[in-house]
């Protein structure tokens, strides 16, 4: 009799004999280590898991629901050792050397962006970012809040996207890679306690700040202004609203096309410009394109007695957020391009964070001279 262990391979459950489970676990751990500096690590791991799942399926039938240890062994041999780095030298080298190379690399665990739930306020994004750049988590949180206020809520969307694409540090190894420090239980408890207190204060502060902003909105508006818009321009508002939404949709389509194919319509992104820079430029261009529309909308509200009430500003923000969330959710479930877009986002964000980190590192190196 053998104990059976259920495993999740890329979203499907398989039952393996205990010894087979440890064979597979070791194989995947070695693969993960070999790919530790590969930017597509998560994707390759998912592909490998899927291939293993397909092979398991071959051994299963309605009357045989468990994959035996011998079969797992055969599957692992069939898969072959996972090749490490993209460097040409290591690919030319034999597989035995490969193993020792990745072993030698192991002690210097690379730092990676993870969500860290210990002492997290929402989903550990700020916590992870702070650990990644080794800065105070409160600073990151304040930065996020300020960004969210300036962008009228778009920053919250950025947080949600980050929350989805950045993996949570669930294992000790991941936590060490996320924080750059080995973690023991005492540390975790201490840190969690500190951050819980800080987090609660942060929430209160954030809420007060938001309320103040809405109130201020009320007061500033309604001041008589010299150049009131002619009354007939009020009729243009719905039309401009449509143009605004249209621009937003076009921007979204451009963004997806840029991320998926590296091109917008017939214009190809120059090969020496990183994708994240292209995305950034697109977003800035969009902001510039809609700024006259925004200004005009503001102008209309300013001229009316009482101005744009705070609740209007608030409900517009909420409507945009909810609308965007629903559209994204539906689209990512039904349109393959959008799913692909989301699959590429992590890589994009990773490239971007690496670029930012490198820029910081260069600055620090340059400082003493």
């Amino acid at each position: 009799m053998q104990t059976v262990i259920s495993v999740n391979l890329n979203g499907h459950a398989y039952q393996l004999e205990e010894r087979g489970y440890s064979t597979l676990r070791d194989y995947l751990a070695r693969a993960e280590q070999a790919l530790s500096d590969n930017p597509d690590r998560a994707e390759i791991m998912a592909d490998l898991e899927q291939a293993i799942a397909d092979k398991c399926q071959r051994y299963l039938s309605p009357h045989k629901t468990v994959v035996t240890s011998v079969e797992v062994e055969a599957i692992v041999v069939e898969m072959g050792p996972v090749e490490g780095t993209t460097g040409e030298s290591s690919r030319a080298a034999g597989s035995s050397q490969e193993g020792s190379q990745s072993d030698a690399k192991a002690p210097a665990a690379p730092r990676r962006l993870y969500r860290i739930m210990d002492g997290a306020v929402i989903a550990g994004v700020c916590n992870g970012v702070a650990a990644f750049f080794q800065i105070e988590v409160t600073l990151v949180r304040i930065g996020f809040v300020i960004m969210a206020l300036i962008t009228k809520g778009a920053g919250i969307l950025a947080y949600v996207v980050t929350m989805i694409v950045v993996p949570e540090a669930t294992t000790a190894e991941a936590r060490a890679a996320g924080t750059g420090a080995p973690i023991n239980a005492q540390d975790v408890i201490e840190r969690a306690r500190q951050q819980y207190a800080a987090g609660r204060k942060e929430w209160h502060r954030r809420w007060r700040q938001q309320r103040r902003q809405w109130r201020r909105h009320n007061r500033v508006a309604g001041v008589p202004i010299a150049y009131a818009p002619p009354p007939w321009t009020m009729g243009l508002m719905p039309l401009l609203g449509l143009v605004h939404i249209l621009l937003f949709v076009v921007m979204g389509a451009f963004l997806i096309s840029l991320v998926n194919t590296g091109a917008i319509l017939d214009w190809q992104l120059p090969p020496d410009v990183p994708l994240w820079a292209g995305v950034l430029m697109l977003v800035v261009a969009y902001q510039i394109a809609v700024s006259p529309l925004r200004a005009f909308e503001k102008w209309q509200w300013m001229a009316r007695p009482g101005g744009e009430p705070g609740w209007v500003a608030f409900s517009i923000t909420v409507t945009w957020l909810v609308g965007a969330a629903i559209v994204v959710w539906i689209a990512s479930n039904h349109i393959p391009e959008i799913r692909e877009f989301f699959q590429r986002l992590p890589e994009l964000i990773r490239d971007f964070t690496y670029a930012v980190r490198d820029a910081f590192a260069r600055q620090r190196e340059g400082a003493p001279r």
Binding site: E43, I44, D47, A51, D54, V82, R339, E340
Partner: protein
């Protein structure tokens, strides 16, 4: 040292070229590529192929598209990008050149 061992490094080096050739014919998914290679001397394994495919995609030679399959989860179907096609043309020429050189040298 057997012939097989002696040419191991050359076979590995040619893998990328062969993948370009296979993908150039039609859109294929990873298991298709593996099946085609494994019918030849260039047999390889997932552990080698997957990281290589991902590197080729990063280099802009390949791209993939998700496609539903009736037997299981959606699959990644690979195809050549414009730069993949031009790279393949170059490699084809170069390979011809290499063969011609070998034929010309000695007997």
């Amino acid at each position: 040292m057997s012939l097989d061992d002696r040419f191991a490094a050359i076979r590995r080096g040619l893998l990328e070229y062969l993948i370009l050739r296979i993908v150039a014919v039609e859109r294929v998914y990873a298991a298709d590529i593996l099946k085609r290679l494994n019918a030849t001397d260039f047999a390889t394994q997932e552990g080698t192929l997957y990281p290589l495919l991902s590197k080729m995609r990063r280099d802009g030679l390949l791209d993939y598209e998700w496609q539903e399959s009736d037997a299981g989860p959606p699959r990644k179907y690979y195809e050549l990008t414009a730069s993949g096609k031009s790279q393949l043309a170059e490699l084809n020429d170069y390979w011809k050149h290499v063969n011609a050189t070998i034929a010309k040298l000695g007997k």
